[in-house]
Structures are given as C-alpha cells and as structure tokens.
Amino acid sequence: MANAVEKVNTIAIADIEAINTITDDNLQALNTLEFTGVTDAHTLISTHTASASATLDITSGIDSTYDVYEFIYTNIHPATDDTHFQFQVETGSDSDYNHPMITTYFQAYNAESGGTPTLAYSGGNDQATSGDGNGVFQNIAKEMGGGSGNDDEAASGILTLYDPSNTTYVKHFTSTSNCYQGGNTSMQALVAGYINTTTAITRVRFKMSSGNIDEGVIKMYGLATS
C-alpha cells in the first residue's frame, strides 16, 4: 500500500491514532487516498486469551497475507506444576497437530539462590520426527510451576513462523522465551527448526504438556509483504 496521505489537517499521519474510533491499523483509505498510518508493517491479527484452557488454537488468519507470523505469548501460567509450554501446527482444516519437525533447543539459566549459571544444549527437548502423523508437540518453555504457591511462575516470549503458506519449502521457525522455572530459576530457552512439510501451514495449537493453560495471552502478528 502506498503512503499517499502524509497529513490530515496539519497532523502528521504517524501521530494519528484513531479517526472516528477506527484505529490507524484498520484504516485503508481516506477520501480514496490510500492511508498508511499503517506505516506499521507489524499488524496485530488476533488475540487469544487462556482461562483454564486445554489448548489455544489459532485456526484462522494464517495464510499468504503475510510472509512472517509472530506469536507473542505473555505470562503463560500452567495449572499443573512442572509442565512445559508447547506448540504444533496443522494444514488445511485438519486437527491432528502432529507434523514432523526437526528442532534444536538450548537454554541459559541462573537460579535465584546462586549456583553456577549455565548455557547448554537440552537434548531431551528437541525432536527429529519424520513422516506425517509422527510429529510431537515442541516445547518452547519448560518446567514452569503451577498450582498452589506458584502463582507468580509463567513464561513469555515470541515464536516466529516464516512463510507458512509456501508450498515449495519446509517451514522455518525460531522462538525465544524466558520463564520463571519451577526451581526459582530464570531460564531463557532458544528453540528453532523446521516443520518438514511443503504443504501450507494454516493452524497453530499451543498447550501445556500436562493440564491446562491456567492464564496467559497470545497475540498473533503478521509482517507486511509489501
């Protein structure tokens, strides 16, 4: 979209937050002139809020509109102690969430009590699955506390999924999370890999490894293609 409108009544487009309650993100044109208060190429597509939710499924809005999708998760708090925050994907309107992935997982952590801070690969949290139907949910943050006495433990971070609608290439992703790990430890987890399918990805499911997502918010953003 061209940036055809620069000012409205001497107010720079970048300074306008809303017109008649319509936010600049949602304005497409003004008196037929294209409007890019939408100079922000980082578009909020949808918000998903957990409330004792078994899963948070994003089943719409992932298509060829954007090259890159970002899932920003904030304060993901499990209902069950010592559980991991995970994701998987689907194609079409399927709902099995079991596509093969090849992933890496490494982490840095430091305990409130001191000890030896560590940076290390975490072999038990990666996967090298093959064949449709054989993929498992990929951990992106782990060992968070839930239940009594653990109300302040949660994870926040970002999962970036590249070009999910491409039908030539496998689908790359990266994630960076920080969590309050159950051992009163700050744990940064860096996960990356690829979903080993050339079929377009249309759905993403987030869940805990056991029990519900007690609370937390996931916002899905798209990055403009042009």
């Binding site: 990356a192 890999g193 690829y194």
Partner: protein, 185 residues
C-alpha cells in the same frame, strides 16, 4: 514498536534469474535508528554456500573498508537423529577486525529443492557518527538435512555512518529467496 517496510531488494524464485549479490544502496540513513533485514527461504545454487554481508560507510566503497568483529555460534540437530545434537561456537565463521564478508549462516544446501534458510539481521543506529555499529542476526535452516539455529553478532568498527549493505553468497548464486528491509521506530 512500529516497523515500516522500506524495500524488498530480493524477491525471486528458481524460475527467475539467479543473483550473486544483493546491494541495498538507498534507504539506510537517520530516518530510523534500527534497521531489520529479513530473509525468507534463501536458496543457494551451490552446496555448502554461505549467506554473507558487508557494508559501505559514506566515505567507503567496494565493501572492504569497514572492519567487523563478530561472534558466531549455532545449535544443530540432524534430521535422521544421527549423532549428538549440540550447541557450539564456530571459530571458522567469526571475524576479528577484518573488512571481509561475515557469514550469516553456513551450509546452505542446493541438493534438495525444499531446503533453505529464514531469519533476520538487526543493524543498530547505522547513521551514528560517534559509535561503532552493532548488529545481531538469527536464522533457522535445514541445510544438509539438519536443523540449525544460527546466531551471529558483532560490530562494524567504523564511526562513519553506514549507508549501504551488500548480501552475497560465498559460492555460486542465490537462486531463490526474499530479502526485505524494515525500519523500526
């Protein structure tokens, strides 16, 4: 944080003419304090090729005047689950104050058409005339049937403003992929 798409200097598929370099020679100035370069499904014509970058300062040319000092490490995991997945520093892919091209990745793979790499590189305050220029990149790839999470960072040891950037492949050509430049405000 708002991002503005400034340009798309590369957008080709394997049916288009391959390119050996992608030069961004406009749009890097003091309009934004942070620039992001996004790479989507970069596919190389040759095996074992590496996507690289260098810059020109406003008083430089030929992509060989601004020395870089960098770090480079990755986590990797074979698709067939063979060997031991690991996290390691790559001494062969960093630079210590030399004006050569810096690898953003390693081991791109041409043998499999579905193989490529995606990620981004952030360049901080390229127009500063006081400080060196910091950059950080992270890319995910599937070269040689292996998931790689590649992290590179460093600084351009030049206090002159940086105005141009070149991406190239260490061998052969880029025969498919997208590169986009965003400004962050």
């Amino acid at each position: 944080m708002a991002k503005t798409l400034i340009s798309t200097p590369l957008n080709i598929t394997t049916s288009d003419t391959a390119v050996s370099t992608v030069d961004i020679t406009s749009g890097i100035d003091d309009t934004y304090s942070v620039y992001e370069f996004h790479f989507y499904n970069i596919h190389a014509s040759d095996d074992d090729a590496e996507l690289q970058f260098q810059v020109n300062a406003s008083d430089g040319a030929d992509w060989n005047d601004s020395p870089l000092t960098t770090t480079f490490f990755s986590a990797y995991h074979n698709e067939d689950d063979s060997g031991t997945p690991a996290l390691s520093y790559h001494t062969g892919h960093d630079i210590a104050n030399a004006a050569t091209f810096q690898n953003i990745h390693y081991n791109l793979w041409n043998n499999v058409n579905e193989s490529g790499m995606s990620g981004s590189m952030t360049l901080y305050d390229p127009s500063s005339t006081t400080y060196v220029k910091h950059f950080i990149s992270r890319v995910s790839s599937d070269g040689f049937a292996m998931a790689s999470d590649v992290h590179m960072a460093g600084y351009i040891n030049d206090t002159t403003d940086i105005t141009e950037i070149r991406f190239k492949i260490s061998a052969g050509t880029i025969d498919a992929g997208i590169i986009k430049m965003f400004g962050v405000s």
